[in-house]
């Protein structure tokens, strides 16, 4: 989830693994090292998933606390960063559930798609004539309106630069679902931008 060359990712993963082992053995400084290494990405992720900067900080802290509590159960079968991102996503989901009622399953079709009203495809390009900065600002707002399932995938893919496989592991969904949610999330973002 770093957008870096595979070799560098592997090195970082190994470094994480060593710190995890030391932290599990009771080395507080090793856990501090893990927090220092991952705080930027976790805070940024939670900012986008929660839509609220203040809540993002709280959720990030809870994420690291939960990671510390369950560190001994982390078997290093996946990357620590993937495991940590999964905890962060769960924190964001739990916070979202506390904020608003869960959508009825009736609104989701057998294909996993929302049965809510399908907005019409925009007739003109939503990006035409917009500076990237302005588009980014509007996308930031549009992300907050996106369904959680799609926002998670879009944020992980386009903002955290996670691979489809990493997203699948983080969200514990099939890779085919990652593909469909990502495309659906992007197209719905486009719809929201067209309406705004």
């Amino acid at each position: 989830m770093t957008g870096q060359p595979e070799g560098m990712i592997e090195q970082q993963s190994e470094a994480d693994g060593a710190l995890v082992a030391q932290a599990v053995a009771g080395d507080a400084e090793a856990f501090r090292g893990l927090v220092e290494r991952h705080q930027d990405r976790i805070v940024a992720l939670l900012r986008r998933l929660s839509g609220c900067p203040e809540q993002a900080i709280d959720l990030a802290q809870e994420t690291f606390l939960a990671a510390h509590r369950h560190l001994a159960s982390f078997r290093q079968e996946s990357r620590f960063s993937t495991w940590l991102h999964a905890i962060a996503v769960n924190q964001a989901r739990a916070a979202a559930r506390r904020r608003r009622p869960v959508a009825s399953l009736d609104a989701v079709g057998a294909d996993g798609r929302s049965r809510l009203a399908e907005p019409a495809a925009p007739e003109v390009s939503v990006s035409a004539g917009l500076e990237r900065e302005e588009l980014a600002r509007r996308i930031g707002r549009a992300l907050d309106l996106l369904d959680d399932r799609f926002r998670e995938v879009v944020v992980l893919a386009d903002m955290q630069d996670a691979s489809y496989e990493e997203i699948a592991a983080t969200l514990e969904i099939p890779i085919g679902t990652v593909r469909s949610r990502l495309h659906r999330g992007r197209t719905e973002l486009r719809m929201i931008l067209a309406e705004s």
Partner: protein, 426 residues
């Protein structure tokens, strides 16, 4: 890992086709990518869509990432320290517990002293000036042996003794037949110490090699409630008077024991200033009990923990009223009421009271991760009904008579952050 293009490459591509995003992300094999590119090139709608999706992807990637505030790592580490076993929160609770227990023990000591004063003095008893020096010597010897036994109590047994709550022991005959049998074989010489009631029995027990094999709670039981020996046994620490007698008897360990006895009601900083006494106190002290944190998720989790507690047969006592004047029966009634239990669970620190094995089993059952909504207590409730729910009072009393020693464990019930309820089942 990717879908295969339709056999007819000239078929129009749906705008909803995920391969469009895969193509944008460069994840399609070359052949499929070429087919998608061709389809997009033929459709103005797809071309516009792809241009927008590319722009959205690029703009999303360029969104400024929120940075952690200064000191975030320190905040996390502080929170970790506070929530870890033995962390600040636990230390605070342990200190509160220590204060509560110190007050309780001081009260017991005062009661024991009062009992001793009210006991009709027998001729030649200590209150009569100990006219026979050899009796004083025997008393000092017995007290010294008692202290020695106490100091050598295994930690777990000492803990059990310390955790025996007031009143409960009077309803629960723990190992008493075994204790009585062993007491019957004690050396008669110890009987020469003519002191009141329970002290005599306790010293009798303590003054024999067999006593070392007695369960600590049996010794406490044998000593009888309200006696000084009983208080010492239940606290696991010698009183200052006993320690002084130990000192008078020439015991080399006595100075530390005296200091430890003095320190039992003094601030902890005194311990730091006297390492020898602190070591002695630590060796003798059964305190504090395990401070257990049970995490719950929201009101529902709290309620289910209450249901599990009711089903388990254990009970809660508010820390501030543990050992109060309400009496064991009243507290027990309160502990059986689900609403009262749930209410108590709102407190920061409460005592969990019950037979040691059941307390341990309960804590194991709720586990480190606590009680989450969805972990139904139905099975627990059913099991409890089978086991004791329908039992007659007489049966319960009989069961209580053979039950293991009751313990009292300090628990904290706290909200667990970030719980994800189980996904709804289709």
């Amino acid at each position: 890992m990717t879908a295969t293009m339709p056999a007819d490459d000239s078929a129009p591509l749906s705008p909803d086709d995920p391969r469009l995003s895969e193509w944008i992300d460069g994840r399609l094999p070359a052949a499929e990518a070429a087919a998608v590119e061709e389809a997009v090139g033929r459709s103005e709608q797809l071309s516009r869509l792809v241009a927008d999706l590319r722009a959205i992807k690029a703009a999303a990637a360029s969104l400024p990432a929120m940075e952690p505030p200064a000191g975030f790592v320190d905040q996390v580490m502080q929170a970790v320290a506070e929530t870890s076993p033995g962390g600040d929160d636990d230390r605070i609770v342990a200190e509160e517990w220590r204060e509560i227990e110190t007050e309780r023990l001081a009260g017991e000591r005062a009661e024991a002293d009062a009992d001793a004063d009210l006991t009709p003095a027998e001729p030649g008893s200590p209150s009569q000036g100990r006219p026979w020096p050899w009796m004083s010597l025997a008393g000092a010897l017995a007290a010294g042996l008692l202290v020695a036994v106490l100091l050598n109590l295994p930690g777990d047994e000492a803990k059990q003794v310390a955790m025996v709550p007031d009143g409960v022991e009077s309803e629960t005959a723990v190992d008493e037949p075994e204790a009585a049998d062993m007491l019957a074989d004690l050396p008669a010489a110890v009987e020469a110490d003519q002191v009141a009631g329970g002290n005599r029995v306790a010293r009798k027990a303590a003054g024999s090699p067999e006593a070392a094999a007695l369960p600590a709670n049996a010794l406490a039981r044998a000593a009888g409630p309200g006696s000084r020996g009983d208080a010492e046994l239940r606290s696991g620490r010698p009183s200052e008077e006993s320690a002084r007698r130990q000192l008078d008897g020439g015991d080399p360990a006595a100075p530390a024991a005296v200091a430890a006895a003095r320190l039992r009601t003094q601030p902890d900083e005194k311990l730091a200033a006297n390492p020898e006494a602190a070591a002695s106190l630590t060796a003798a002290a059964p305190l504090p009990p395990e401070v257990i944190t049970i995490q719950v998720w929201g009101a529902e989790g709290r309620k289910e923990l209450g249901e599990l507690l009711v089903a388990s047969g254990l009970r809660l006592e508010p820390a501030e009223t543990a050992g109060d004047e309400a009496g064991p029966k009243a507290r027990q009634e309160a502990g059986r009421d689900a609403a009262a239990v749930t209410s108590l669970l709102g407190d920061e620190a409460v005592f969990l009271v019950g037979p040691a094995d059941e307390v341990a089993a309960f804590l194991t059952r709720v586990g480190a991760d606590g009680v989450a909504p969805g972990e139904t207590a139905a099975e627990e409730t059913a099991g409890a009904e089978d086991a004791s729910g329908g039992a007659r009072p007489a049966d319960r009393k009989a069961a209580a008579a053979t039950a293991p020693a009751p313990v009292r464990v300090l628990i904290r019930v706290r909200e667990a952050p970030g719980f994800t309820p189980p996904a709804p089942q289709p």
